[in-house]
């Protein structure tokens, strides 16, 4: 039951941060949903809990806002998959959200003070 234990130690995503993570992941090129989920988990060193199910409504939302585009294609292991690409508007949004996130982290960091060892 090692997996379960690991899951309980994972951090739940803050509201609204999933969008940022998706956009950031897509900056490296087109990717399908499962790929995005995996990329996020790997890059965060399995610290984050990404519910794959909640990924799709988020993708849908981003798509309807015009920040990402989607197209059916074939994945590396020859499966049909829906590939998402970042649009121009998506890039702008990513820059803006990144900046906001940095400010938020900095502000909260100032309040809770330096890390205690």
């Amino acid at each position: 039951m090692s997996i379960k234990k690991r899951e309980s130690e994972q951090i739940a995503l803050l509201q609204g941060t999933l969008d940022l993570l998706i956009l950031r992941t897509l900056l490296f090129g087109p990717q399908h949903g499962q790929g995005i989920a995996r990329a996020i988990q790997q890059q965060a060193d399995h610290e984050l809990l990404v519910d794959h199910g909640s990924l799709y409504p988020a993708l849908q939302r981003l798509e309807s806002r015009g920040w990402i585009d989607a197209e059916w294609g074939t994945s590396t292991n020859n499966r049909k998959a829906r590939f998402y690409t970042l649009t121009k508007a998506g890039r702008k949004q990513l820059v803006q959200e990144t900046r906001q996130w940095r400010r938020l982290v900095a502000a909260i960091g100032r309040i809770i003070g330096p890390e205690e060892a």
């Binding site: 399908h32 794959h52 849908q60």
Partner: protein, 879 residues
């Protein structure tokens, strides 16, 4: 954009499937056994169904799809309770149908533009002088207007006359040759008039018919164009038939149009082109770049006689927009408001009734609603479901309302005409008030508003429940003791009471006016009025005198009861007294059985010379010489110049006239006559009236009054007068009684409509109250069982029911009385009629009594049912 992005559910499901497969692939690659891999992939994904649901709900179409579901569900639900649906739909349809009819009439006269090219650029020309204003012009004024092609795209002139065709009286528009070219209405057959039809006097005997005339008189004969028909004794060729939607540019529709150059031919040489002949109605079409203000300042008119014979006054032009038959002013709206309110009240009563039924139904369904709420439906979703049911009912009711309204329209028009005196009915024309898209839209909007009114409140109420109570089958206190139910009952009682008071007031005033003693005996008296040349009236007098059937004959300057008499302002030390006057021959008093109370009548000598003497009405004597003997007193009166066919259409201010007109005559009072009603019956007895002497040869005389023996009725007089003038329109022959009936007519219609409306409202509130009470005591049946088991008698239970009903309606009754009183008080400050009492205590009393009976009737059934409750069975049953 919106459509391109829309994804199907299948597409999304495929994507999820592909995700899971990829995830399994990856896990297998990492060395996890396939079974384990599938389980892990699913676990990582979370709830697949929930994800799909979220996708589904995020789509913009979800509202529409849920609406479709709701509609389907509502339809099934309603199909199962057809009796409920039938009564509710019918109730609402009656209310909506009535409102629709009123709107259709309003639409036809006020909202719907004339069916001509660009109606909004049309303006009606009027004139304004210092003391008077009007809308009739001379031919040369028309030519002045026409010359200004820089201001107007077209100028048309029209004068209307009634002409006989096959014993029917047709309203004929005599129009300038450019009438149809300028207006460009749709032509059904043939053509409209063209310029060459009105080139010279009497040259082109042609006629254009309306669709209505074509249908009524010629049975829609397809070969009518080119046919020669007879009109007023002359032959005219039909050259065209207009489409049904066009019936002239007036609130009174035309039956046919003839070139204005035929006026003289058809009406015995009487043509409208004389230099001072002022009878044309002028309509202009403004150029797109010209404003009405600019145009009215730019057209100079030659001065004409406005009020005083021989004196030409400078006049200025006024242009008023004329896109629809009636231009609604704020004053007219204020007068019509009570009518609209009365009809709206019936609709509100219907809504309150339906609302009560809906509420009862919703609470009977509380278990269903409770289940839906507890398995996860949001309150908004359930409210939407209930509203959809309401909307479905309202839409059905709206459709039925349109059907009802069209039936009502036919019936209404029929009864309207039937109730009119026959001679008048033959001349009445309505603007066709058929249902167009505006009426349709209106009904639909009303249906939506009605849904909000009758379905929203019950829906909000019904969903305000605790889930546990609902599932246990217990009705929450929220519904049972809600303020809402009180509100519904109260509003229903209020509305009914207000309508009842309206109706009672109308009926009582109507009968009071019908019972009014007009002070003279008009039974069997026929008047022949002929304004065109005094010689004709004299000949008529002589012709009738030779007939042995004429028992008594008199002449007068005006006929009694045909509108208000001309005013004669008299200056007194106490202020200005506005008396009315009429010239009458000595026989007048005997013929109409008006007793001379004091002094004497006119002598033949005085009549022949039109001596400066007068007989004053009793009321006039009291006002002018209070406490004195009026005989021998003198008074200076202003008399309108005789022989003026057209004076000012409206007299601006009597005070101004008094100052400017120094041509007053001094007359000596020789007698006092009993008070009579000379003007309008609802205005009551004349406040002050002067009779001045005249004789049949006088230029002032326009009317011959005849009291015949037996058979000398309207028809006989008419044929007698044909010997005087072959033109059947030369004299207007009417029985005075018909005039009285005509005056009563609006009151009769009002009291009919008022009674109908209040009867409907009363029925609605009885059934509404019955519904609420039955439902309420159905809920309290256990409690009643307990009461009876503890020893309450059947009488006590009955009293309980009645008390509750009385408590609920008392608030409504008080509100209704207060509302009606306020409205009536407001109305009485607007309406100044001596013979009409607006705040009528009897009407209030009777209405209150009626509403009490209604409440008692409505609670009788529930009370009986409650008293029959058998405590032993009641306490055993589980609910």
């Amino acid at each position: 954009m919106f459509w391109r992005r829309r994804r199907t559910d299948e597409d999304f499901t495929d994507e999820i499937a592909s995700h899971l497969e990829s995830e399994i692939d990856r896990l297998v690659e990492e060395g996890v056994p396939p079974d384990e891999a599938a389980a892990r992939a699913r676990r990582a994904f979370g709830n697949v169904a929930r994800t799909r649901e979220r996708f589904y709900e995020a789509r913009r179409f979800v509202l529409f799809e849920q609406f479709k579901q709701d509609l389907r569900y509502a339809w099934r639900g309603l199909w199962h309770s057809r009796a409920f649906v039938a009564t509710t739909v019918l109730t609402l349809a009656v209310g909506m149908g009535l409102v629709t009819v009123v709107f259709a009439v309003f639409n036809a006269y006020v909202l719907r533009p004339f069916a001509v090219h660009d109606p909004y650029s049309l303006h009606l020309a009027g004139w304004r002088a210092k003391e008077a204003s009007g809308a009739s012009f001379r031919w040369r004024d028309y030519e002045d207007f026409r010359a200004r092609t820089d201001l107007f795209d077209g100028v048309i002139a029209e004068t209307r006359r009634t002409v006989t065709m096959r014993d029917r009286q047709l309203s004929v528009g005599f129009v300038s040759g450019n009438y149809f070219g300028t207006l460009a209405p749709r032509v059904a057959l043939g053509r409209g008039l063209i310029e060459s039809d009105a080139r010279s006097n009497g040259s082109e005997p042609v006629i254009i018919l309306t669709d209505d005339t074509w249908a009524r008189l010629f049975d829609r004969d397809p070969s009518i164009v080119g046919r020669e028909i007879e009109l007023g004794g002359h032959h005219l060729v039909v050259v065209g038939v207009m489409a049904p939607e066009f019936s002239g540019m007036d609130e009174v529709p035309r039956d046919a149009w003839v070139p204005i150059t035929m006026h003289g031919v058809l009406l015995n040489g009487d043509d409208p082109f004389g230099p001072d002949d002022r009878r044309l109605q002028i309509t202009v079409r403004l150029r797109y770049d010209v404003t009405a203000t600019l145009a009215q300042a730019a057209v100079p008119l030659e001065p004409f006689e406005t009020r005083v014979a021989g004196r030409r006054d400078p006049v200025s032009v006024e242009l008023t927009p004329r896109p629809t038959p009636v231009r609604m002013t704020r004053g007219q709206l204020a007068v019509l408001a009570p009518v609209f309110v009365a009809f709206a009240l019936v609709l509100i009563a219907a809504c309150a009734n339906a609302s009560n039924v809906m509420l009862a139904r919703a609470s009977a369904r509380h278990r269903e609603i409770g289940i839906r709420l507890s398995i996860g439906a949001s309150r908004g979703r359930v409210v939407r479901q209930l509203l959809t049911e309401g909307l479905l009912i309202a839409t059905l009711a709206g459709a039925l309302a349109l059907v009802l309204a069209s039936v009502l329209r036919r019936l209404g028009t029929y009864f309207f005409v039937v109730m009119l005196p026959p001679t008048i009915a033959a001349r009445v024309r309505f603007v066709p008030f058929d249902f167009d898209h505006r009426v349709f839209m209106f009904t639909m909007i009303v249906a939506c508003a009605v849904t909000m009114l009758f379905a929203l409140l019950p829906a909000l109420q019904a969903t305000r429940m605790s889930l546990t109570d609902a599932l246990r089958g217990q009705l929450t206190a929220a519904i049972r003791s809600s303020a809402l139910r009180g509100l519904l009952v109260t509003s229903q009682v209020t509305v009914s009471l207000v309508l009842l008071i309206f109706a009672a007031t109308l009926v009582r005033n109507g009968s009071a006016i019908r019972a009014t003693n007009i002070g003279m005996d008009t039974n069997g008296v026929v008047v022949a009025r002929g304004g065109n040349g005094s010689g004709l009236v004299r000949k008529a007098y002589e012709e009738v005198s030779t007939d042995s059937r004429a028992a008594e004959i008199a002449v007068a300057s005006r006929s009694p009861l045909f509108g208000t008499s001309p005013p004669a302002p008299i200056r007194r030390p106490s202020g200005l007294v506005v008396a009315s006057y009429a010239f009458v021959s000595p026989e007048y008093f005997n013929l109409l059985r008006i007793p001379i109370l004091h002094g004497r009548s006119f002598s033949a000598q005085e009549a022949a010379t039109e001596a400066p003497i007068a007989i004053v009405s009793a009321a006039g004597a009291r006002v002018l010489w209070p406490g004195e003997d009026p005989i021998g007193k003198t008074v200076r009166v202003n008399i309108e110049p005789p022989g003026q066919k057209i004076v000012a259409d409206t007299v601006k201010s009597l005070r101004v006239i008094r100052e400017t007109d120094a041509t007053a005559t001094e007359v000596t009072i020789v007698g006092v006559a009993q008070d009579v009603i000379n003007g309008f019956v609802y205005q009551g007895l004349d406040p002050a009236h002067l009779y001045l002497p005249t004789h049949p040869g006088s230029v002032r005389v326009t009317t011959v009054l005849i009291r015949g023996r037996g058979s000398l009725q309207v028809g006989a007089v008419r044929s007698l007068l044909l010997r005087v003038s072959p033109d059947p329109m030369a004299f207007d022959v009417l029985a005075v009684d018909e005039m009285v009936a005509l005056q009563m007519f609006p009151l009769r219609v009002a009291s009919w409509v008022g009674s109908l409306l209040s009867a409907i409202a009363l029925l609605l509130s009885i059934s509404g109250l019955y519904g609420v009470l039955t439902y309420m005591f159905g809920q309290r049946i256990k409690e009643i069982g307990v009461r009876m088991a503890l020893g309450a008698s059947a009488g006590a239970v009955r009293r309980l029911v009645f008390r509750q009903a009385a408590r609920l309606s008392a608030a409504g009754a008080v509100l209704g009385l207060a509302a009606a009183f306020t409205v009536m008080k407001l109305l009485s400050s607007v309406v100044h009629l001596d013979n009409v009492s607006v705040v009528d205590p009897v009407a209030f009393g009777v209405s209150f009594f009626l509403i009490c009976i209604a409440v008692a009737l409505a609670s009788y059934g529930p009370a009986r049912k409650a008293a029959r409750v058998d405590p032993s069975t009641m306490l055993r049953t589980e609910t």
